[in-house]
Amino acid sequence: MQILAQLLVSGVAVGMIYGVIAFGYQLTFATSKTLNFGQGEALMLGALVGLTVASFVGYWVMLPIVLAFGLLQGAVVERLGVRPAIKSKSESGWIMATIALGIIFKNLAENIWGRDDLKFPSPIGERSIEVMGVRVLPMEIAIVAGALAMMLAVELFNRRSVFGKAVVATANDRDAAGLMGINTGQVITFSFALSSMVAALAGVLVAPVTLTGATMGSALGLKAFAVAIIGGLNSGLGVVVGGLILGITENLTGYYLSTGYKDVPGLVLLLLVLSFKPSGLFGKKTIKKV
């Protein structure tokens, strides 16, 4: 029982990371029907830039700097990789372009920070807290809180502010949003910026509990993609549930079966969802009134 609880707790922390990256996938999919397949690299860059910046200005001043860096990085990806493809109405150009940019970012990181994994010190201590016999790392609590806060902030922005509503309008109907005087190209750039910002924050959050290095993002980005499909690319917070499902099943499989099979259940779930409910477990089918 103790072990099961322990596995659940650490599964939740990893799952929240998957969820928040998947949330980032949703942001760009909503406005442009495209994704940044370099999302994992955005996370990795966030962590590494955060590590370097924190060594100069400390952890808390580093946070807003990393968020700003994430915004910028996402905007660059959209301008270089996605906009040309959308303009030329290319079906798959953006896929190749965002993957390519991801690889470039990874190589860049290897050259700047080296190939070895680095240690990202936890800002709130590394000693675990015992709650009813279950050991919880302070950083695991910070991951859950940080991820939820970030998603909530984006949701509030979308619901309350005029610019947020313009994002929702663009997601609903891009042409009609243009007729409202909304520059939908800018909205799409912004959604990529926001998506990378979310990933960069996820990187800073997860770095203290995993290894930090140029390759840390690839697996996370891919799994979060599976979560986005499982939860549904238009499911709102359904990706959180999807992330938790994957995080927990991974941990359970790793312990009870073998760590060698750790990645299998998530991918099996992905295949099942794709064949039986392609819009995702929580995805809405779009109904169009004629």
């Binding site: 005029v162 610019f163 509503k165 313009a166 929702v168 309008a169 997601a171 609903n172 109907d173 042409d175 009609a176 949003a177 243009g178 007729l179 409202m180 005087g181 909304i182 520059n183 939908t184 190209g185 109904i287 009134k289």
Partner: protein, 240 residues
């Protein structure tokens, strides 16, 4: 106010408009009628930048707007209530109206009193007032049509393009929509109205253009068109 000269436009390689010229004077209600596929909707789409004209001039307040993206054209004061309503289904009715005022709220148009205009829309369309907090996607077709019109009016536009505001409505709602259009005309809103109900459109309009296969086939004061035997035979039916 709005002037079109030799407009050529279409979709990809398919040319729909073959050199269209027309104008809408300030404070006037001009209607564009014609059979299905004549190019009425395409004309409006080219005017508001939803499609890029191939050639020709479109001037608003004397400035050429042909080829500008639609958000830039809207910010210059042209509002378009498009075919098929196109309301924002996951935004509330009130938020749809707020989006109509987006350029005013973000500084690219004179702000005025947005809250007062919102109330004005709810007075003009009481049904929308009842449903102000409801998501637009849950409205009936008729309510969505009213919302699309009200949303376009929230720009305080210099020119309003209306594409088939009566589409899919019950007869009672159709007369309600036309009554609203007549009221807007009284308050001197400049409008270009595309309609299938040619008779009703000519009844409220000041001036009319008749389109056929991407070209104008007739034009004149609405009253004169209504009495033109050729127009009557082709578009108004004999029962009028």
């Amino acid at each position: 106010m709005l002037r079109v000269e030799n407009l050529v436009a279409g979709y990809g390689k398919v040319q729909v408009l073959h050199g269209l010229s027309m104008q809408v004077a300030e404070g006037q209600l001009v209607t564009l009628i014609g059979s299905n596929g004549a190019g009425k909707t395409t004309t409006l789409r080219a005017l508001s930048g939803m499609i890029r004209p191939e050639s020709g001039r479109i001037t608003l307040h004397g400035a050429d707007i042909a080829g500008l993206p639609s958000h830039a054209i809207t910010r210059r004061g042209l509002a378009h209530s498009p075919e098929g309503r196109r309301v924002f289904s996951t935004l509330s009715v009130a938020d749809n109206l707020v989006m109509g005022a987006f350029p005013r709220l973000t500084g690219s148009r004179p702000r005025g009193d947005v809250a007062a205009d919102l109330d004005r829309m709810f007075a003009l369309f009481p049904r929308l007032a009842e449903r102000r907090a409801q998501l637009a996607g849950t409205l009936s077709g008729g309510e969505q049509q009213m919302l699309a019109m009200a949303r376009a009016l929230m720009l305080n536009p210099d020119v309003l393009l209306l594409d088939e505001p009566s589409m899919g409505l019950s007869p009672r709602l159709v007369s309600e929509v036309f009554a609203t259009i007549a009221r807007l005309r009284e308050s001197r809103v400049t409008m270009l109205l595309v309609e299938q109900f040619a008779a009703a459109a000519l009844d409220v309009a000041d001036f009319g253009y008749v389109m056929e296969n991407g070209r104008l086939s007739a034009s004149g004061p609405a009253a004169a068109l209504r009495d033109d035997p050729a127009v009557r035979a082709a578009y108004l039916g004999t029962a009028h």
